[in-house]
Amino acid sequence: MLITGRRSLTTVLRLILDFILVLNLLTLILLPFILDALYRDPGILRQLDSSPALWPDETGLRSDYPSDLPPGSRPFYLVFLYASGLGTAWILTEGHFILRRLEKNQPFAKQQVGSFRRVALAFAWLTLVFAVKIIFYNTLLTMFCCGLFFVLALIGLILSEVFLNAWQVKTENELTV
């Protein structure tokens, strides 16, 4: 099977990204309702977080809330999840366009440079969003994600420069008679 070009592995990856993008957008639309359900039954999230809850509930006892999801944190999480969800959708959209150009056999098009710059910007945005979460509701996973997104932002920036150089070499080569 081909790696790039029409009906290649790139197409498979693009379809997977498109599917995740659709799920992402659906989740963003349904986010208030999903959050309501989670805050009604926080035990659902407990499966994801084994650390004990630090916030007591109304009875003064430790509740079923995960350590970084205390009661009353819904407004923060609504904004946080919208901010990070939009950042993710942005990255997935740019990923879609990057892969489409690979399918069209235009890996070193000038637009790739802009796409990678926007991906880097989106990862920088996610880094900022997760840094805010570290201040309010910190967990080990939040710190890990924040660091990871920062590194990915730098990689995106470096890749944009690499693709800019590649585009310049390609143009030079095409205009050499």
Partner: protein, 73 residues
């Protein structure tokens, strides 16, 4: 670009068309057109040699340098 390509001048002197020259030097018409219109960024010695051979001229007849248009400071 400070380098000016005088290919059209030499072609007119030799009364040779773009298609005929492209055929003789084994280049595509579009590539030769890029060279003729000054859009080319570089020229291979083999291309220059073929052009000089077919147009019976020296490289200096095809290329000229204009200080005012130079991109290098």
């Amino acid at each position: 670009m400070g380098i000016i390509v005088n290919l059209d001048v030499m072609m007119a002197r030799r009364k040779m068309s773009l298609n005929e020259l492209a055929d003789r030097v084994d280049l595509t018409v579009s590539n030769l057109s890029i060279l003729k219109t000054g859009k080319a960024r570089a020229i291979r010695f083999s291309t220059l040699e073929a052009l000089c051979r077919e147009l019976e001229c020296q490289p200096g007849d095809l290329l000229a340098y204009n200080n005012e248009d130079s991109e290098v400071e």
